[in-house]
């Protein structure tokens, strides 16, 4: 049977991708950011999963205003890298896991989540920056990512995003689906985006260090309570783009303790301000 071994949480700031791609990772501005991921890179090298179920949001790359899915699951065999306006990031294409993706899609739709199934979806920095942070630089042609990826895109661009409560419930359904897949696979679920940031208007640049750290505390210790937080609190406290943090609740909902299992082990916790406009947060939780 497949199993969820761990969940990883990380911001997916586009400037982090640009810093990597332009060889700036050693500059004083960026060094502390990448140092925060040194542990994660070693950790994942030692316990490489077969599949990463990667929860992220599309930033008007695959989805325009023509069509806005609340939840979209990628069931394709591979995914091209989106051109976000300056050419695609120089990273390998992303290989999917159609069997598991379809299995999860079918299972959670039958569990009353109204997914959109997607077979063609260019993936943007929301998905590729976390891969780069955890797996380091990869040549776009000569290398490949060392894992299969199931992209799971959440709408957080067009109001209203799904509620934290809904995301947390979805995570639980995803865990049930993964555990009913009858191949021997190690699966990690990643929640990306956030932490506090606002990219627009006179309030651009908002950072809320206290709120972010409370969010990390609660995510670890009382996720069900955190999942009740209304949308307006994210925006008011963590900036208009801080709403991306609801995606972390999907990954958290998939951990064993939520279904009565053991409490997860906190393998890594990291917080840094700033990366460009954004507070960077990163957690690794292991199912014991």
């Amino acid at each position: 049977m497949a199993r969820i071994t761990a969940s990883v949480y990380t911001s997916h700031v586009p400037a982090i991708g640009a810093a990597l791609d332009l060889g700036k990772a050693q500059e004083p501005y960026w060094l502390p950011v990448f140092q925060g991921y040194e542990f994660g890179k070693q950790w994942i090298a030692e316990r490489r999963p077969d599949v990463v179920f990667l929860v992220y949001n599309d930033h008007a790359s695959a989805f325009s205003l023509e069509l806005i899915p609340t939840f979209a699951i990628g069931t394709a065999a591979d995914y091209e890298i989106a051109d976000e306006g300056f050419g695609p990031r120089p990273v390998p294409r992303v290989q999917g896991h159609p069997e598991l993706a379809w299995h999860v899609a079918q299972s959670v739709i039958q569990d009353d989540f109204d997914l959109t199934i997607v077979n063609r979806m260019p993936v943007d920095h929301g998905l590729t920056v976390p891969l780069s942070l955890m797996f380091g630089e990869r040549h776009p042609m000569r290398d490949a990512w060392p894992v299969k990826v199931i992209p799971f895109a959440v709408n957080v661009v067009q109001y209203p995003a799904p509620s934290g409560r809904r995301c947390f419930q979805l995570g639980q359904a995803i865990r049930r689906a993964v555990e009913s897949f009858d191949a021997d696979l190690d699966v990690q679920i990643w929640g990306t985006g956030g932490m506090s940031h606002q990219l627009q208007g006179p309030r651009a640049g908002l950072i809320n260090r206290e709120w972010d750290n409370r969010f990390l505390d609660q995510l670890i210790h009382e996720p069900a309570a955190l999942a009740q937080l209304p949308h307006i609190d994210y925006v008011r406290e963590a900036g208009s783009e801080g709403i991306e943090l609801v995606m972390w609740l999907i990954a958290r909902g998939a951990m064993a303790d939520v279904a009565g299992g053991p409490v997860p082990h906190v393998a890594q916790r990291f917080y840094h301000v700033p990366a460009s406009n954004t507070a960077v947060g990163h957690l690794i939780l292991e199912n014991p």
Partner: protein, 146 residues
């Protein structure tokens, strides 16, 4: 109508809700077209002519031409769409975000390195934080004004 908008009391912030999405539909779809290299080249070659291919309002076109992102957002633009204009110009997201505050690039960068904008005074309209309407524009933009 009747859409509940609990977020209207947050200063310096526009939530991309149904009304904004309808208002900005073609402005955002124009931005989306800049994800193709060919379209970027055509846009850069003659911005006005390229904009005229889209059913945008004249104020929307003017806001794009002048790169006034606050105005673009007021007219229904969403920052993730508008970012395609900045990318076509070779601007970073930090430059784009900073441009909406009135600060110089260096001022905005310094604010971020110092820990970013504080939420204090910026949670609700009527408080006295630096994102409040009566304190715009900020930084050098504000000094130039006064």
């Amino acid at each position: 109508m009747a859409l509940h908008k609990p977020y209207l009391d947050i200063p310096g912030t526009t939530i991309f809700d149904a009304d904004m999405s309808r208002k900005g539909y073609w402005l955002n779809q124009f931005c989306m077209s800049l994800m193709k290299a060919d379209n970027r080249a055509r846009f850069k070659a003659d911005e006005r002519a390229y904009l005229d291919e889209w059913p945008m309002t004249e104020p929307q076109k003017a806001a794009v031409l002048s790169r006034d992102l606050n105005e673009c957002i007021r007219l229904g633009g969403n920052i993730y769409f508008l970012a395609k204009i900045g990318s076509s110009d070779g601007k970073s997201f930090q430059q784009m975000a900073g441009s909406m505050t009135g600060m110089t690039e260096q001022e905005y960068r310094d604010m971020m390195i110092a820990g970013g904008r504080s939420p204090e005074g910026n949670r609700r309209l009527g408080e006295d934080g630096d994102a409040q309407p009566h304190r715009q524009p900020q930084g050098a933009g504000g000094r130039n004004k006064s």
